[in-house]
């Protein structure tokens, strides 16, 4: 019996030839990511049990990304402490306000196919875009910092085979929302969702971050994408050398899956997650009665240059509706600079958008809060009541194109008509 990508990764990092689904192993993560939200709390806790140094400081990345620029004295104190601790504990990779953890790790070339990463943040699975297994562990990251190890129950894999290509106006977000419609959380729980198939090659690495990062909101343990030439080329351009051959990383032909689903990308339509949960999915077209006051493009899963290009293409020469606030946040400073160079931020601000520095901010209600009765359409990760401020505000989740089109009209809008004219204008 062959092995899945996940089994191969967990076998290697637990020093084993092979691992079986369901067995408990101790694995050694190759990369540990912790944002400023919790890093100092973890250090405080491991100090209490007598730990004085990190097991593998060179594998640890600490990132200030949730409150950027800082806007509270408590935050300033936390950041000061985080900087100090990162130095004292010899943290290998420290990033201070230059982007959101998950896209930053990929962009900085810190993630290679076949790696096992342990993340403090819920959306760590985004690293699966480049064939790494990245699992959110929350406070358990403190144990990885202290011991270099974490226990894992080897998860089964659900295979999602992608076929064809998305039509104009349909985005990576719509692929993951279509996946959620087929797989409820009873099915996905404790399992990894693995994307493969020829349709995967139509997606860029940042688009793969969208579909892998949101697997956690589909209820899965993680998401991972098979490695192909497009992934290898992207990583080479980002300084990742010594990549293993894809056949060593990817699942074997005779690997065992819990189940397989097939998605024909050419049949997909724009979709929206309605409150109170990301997996409450509806057709964007059917939601046009929903009036919105706020629109947001950004987050670890949808703040890439592709997201910003797709929004700018729709907003080019148009105006954000007078009753709508559109906020755009490039996920990293590199994306910010790229968008500046391409003139995208000029176009977006001309249309009426507000641009903010790279941060997780709005996703958890850190900035740009909503009050009772307000609605936002957003490319961020979650729409639980209270997530962006008031419990009586409503959050709808969709692709950057759907958010851009909705910002123009002031109600939830299927972006296909706009996307088609944007394509026509470009040719």
């Amino acid at each position: 019996m062959g092995a899945t990508m996940t089994q191969k990764i967990l076998a290697r990092t637990s020093g084993r030839e092979s691992v079986q689904h369901g067995e408990i192993i101790w694995a050694s993560p190759d990369l540990v990511t912790a944002p400023e939200v919790s890093f100092s709390a973890y250090i405080k806790r491991i100090r209490e049990i007598g730990v004085t140094k990190l097991a593998h400081p060179e594998r640890v990345a600490v990132i200030i990304d949730h409150e950027v620029p800082v806007h509270s004295v408590a935050g300033a104190e936390r950041n000061k402490l985080t900087r100090q601790l990162a130095q004292e504990w010899s943290v290998g990779h420290f990033f201070d306000g230059v982007g959101i953890t998950h896209p930053l790790m990929v962009e900085q070339g810190l993630v290679a196919p076949g790696m096992f990463a342990a993340g403090a943040d819920s959306h760590a699975p985004g690293l699966g875009a480049v064939g790494a297994l990245s699992v959110p562990f929350g406070f358990e990251v403190s144990m990885v910092l202290a011991t270099g190890q974490i226990w894992m129950k080897v998860p089964e894999t659900i295979r999602v085979r992608l076929h064809g290509a998305c039509r104009p106006g349909v985005a990576a977000r719509d692929i993951v929302l279509a996946t959620m419609q087929q797989l409820d959380d009873e099915v996905t729980s404790y399992r990894v969702i693995e994307y493969q198939g020829e349709g995967l090659s139509t997606l860029s690495v940042p688009e793969r971050m969208t579909i892998c990062g949101l697997c956690v909101d589909a209820g899965a343990k993680s998401g991972i994408a098979a490695v192909d030439q497009r992934c290898i080329d992207y990583l080479s351009a980002h300084g990742v050398v010594d990549q293993q051959a894809p056949e060593l990383i990817n699942s074997d032909a005779d690997a065992e899956y819990a189940m397989t689903i097939d998605i024909d990308l050419s049949t997909l339509t724009p979709r929206v997650s309605i409150p109170p949960s990301p997996n409450h999915v509806r057709e964007a077209q059917a939601m046009s009665g929903i009036v919105i006051q706020h629109a947001y493009i950004g987050s670890c899963v949808s703040g890439s240059i592709e997201d910003i290009r797709s929004a700018a293409a729709i907003l080019r020469g148009r105006k954000v509706h007078a009753d709508v606030n559109l906020l755009v946040i490039p996920a990293t400073q590199q994306v910010f600079q790229q968008a500046l160079q391409e003139g995208l931020l000029t176009e977006l601000t001309a249309a009426g958008a507000t641009i903010s520095p790279s941060t997780c901010g709005p996703c958890f209600g850190g900035i740009a809060q909503l009050t009772a009765g307000e609605r936002r359409i957003s490319t961020s990760t979650r729409n639980d009541p209270g997530r962006m401020g008031s419990n009586e505000a409503e959050i709808f989740l969709a692709s950057a194109m759907t958010v851009a089109a909705s910002a123009i009209t002031g109600h939830i809008t299927d972006p296909r008509a706009y996307a088609a004219s944007a394509e026509g204008g470009a040719s």
Partner: protein, 169 residues
């Protein structure tokens, strides 16, 4: 080995299915890691009296998909601080791990067991054996206990206490 025969006794606090992590503790408390503060926020927006009245030995009884969504540690730091246990139909993987890691006793139960418990019932639970006695109704019930490996972590007081001996030695 796991502690055997150690029962806890307390009140059942009953909740529905699909209580999300953000409902347990709002994401706006994401920067707070002090359990003494977090205990006041647990379920504050769903049922405000819970955090004020819950006593050590009490049990949160909930349906399926408990604590889904954000993989936040905060609700489990708060449960540990309050000394409450968990009896749920299902718990997704992230929160399940965090409960064990924080040393919160957990049992999974079918709807037959959960339906036989009303809010406010007095429960005596032996988590190591999976034995549940509803003292209010007089009904004795049995569920599958946690695997011994996981019980060892909970009984040590959580993941860091569990590995402490090997770290210090």
């Amino acid at each position: 080995m796991s502690a055997v025969g150690k029962s806890t006794s307390g009140r059942a606090w009953k909740f529905s299915s699909d209580i999300s992590s953000d409902q347990l503790i709002s994401a706006r408390h994401v920067f707070e890691f002090d359990p003494r503060m977090l205990r006041h926020h647990l379920l504050a927006e769903v049922r405000p009296e819970f955090a004020q009245q819950a006593q050590p030995g009490d049990v949160i009884v909930a349906g399926r998909n408990f604590a889904h969504g954000s993989n936040h540690s905060h609700p489990f730091l708060a449960m540990k601080a309050l000394g409450v246990g968990l009896l749920v139909r299902s718990l997704s993987r992230g929160p399940f791990r965090l409960a064990i890691f924080m040393g919160v006793p957990v049992l999974m139960a079918g709807s037959d067991v959960l339906d036989a418990i009303d809010d406010g019932d007095q429960l005596e639970i032996d988590f190591s054996r999976g034995a549940i006695f509803n003292a209010t109704s007089g009904k004795q019930m049995q569920v599958e206990p946690l695997a011994p490996f996981l019980q060892d972590i909970v009984n040590a007081g959580g993941g860091l206490e569990f590995v402490k001996s090997q770290l210090v030695s």
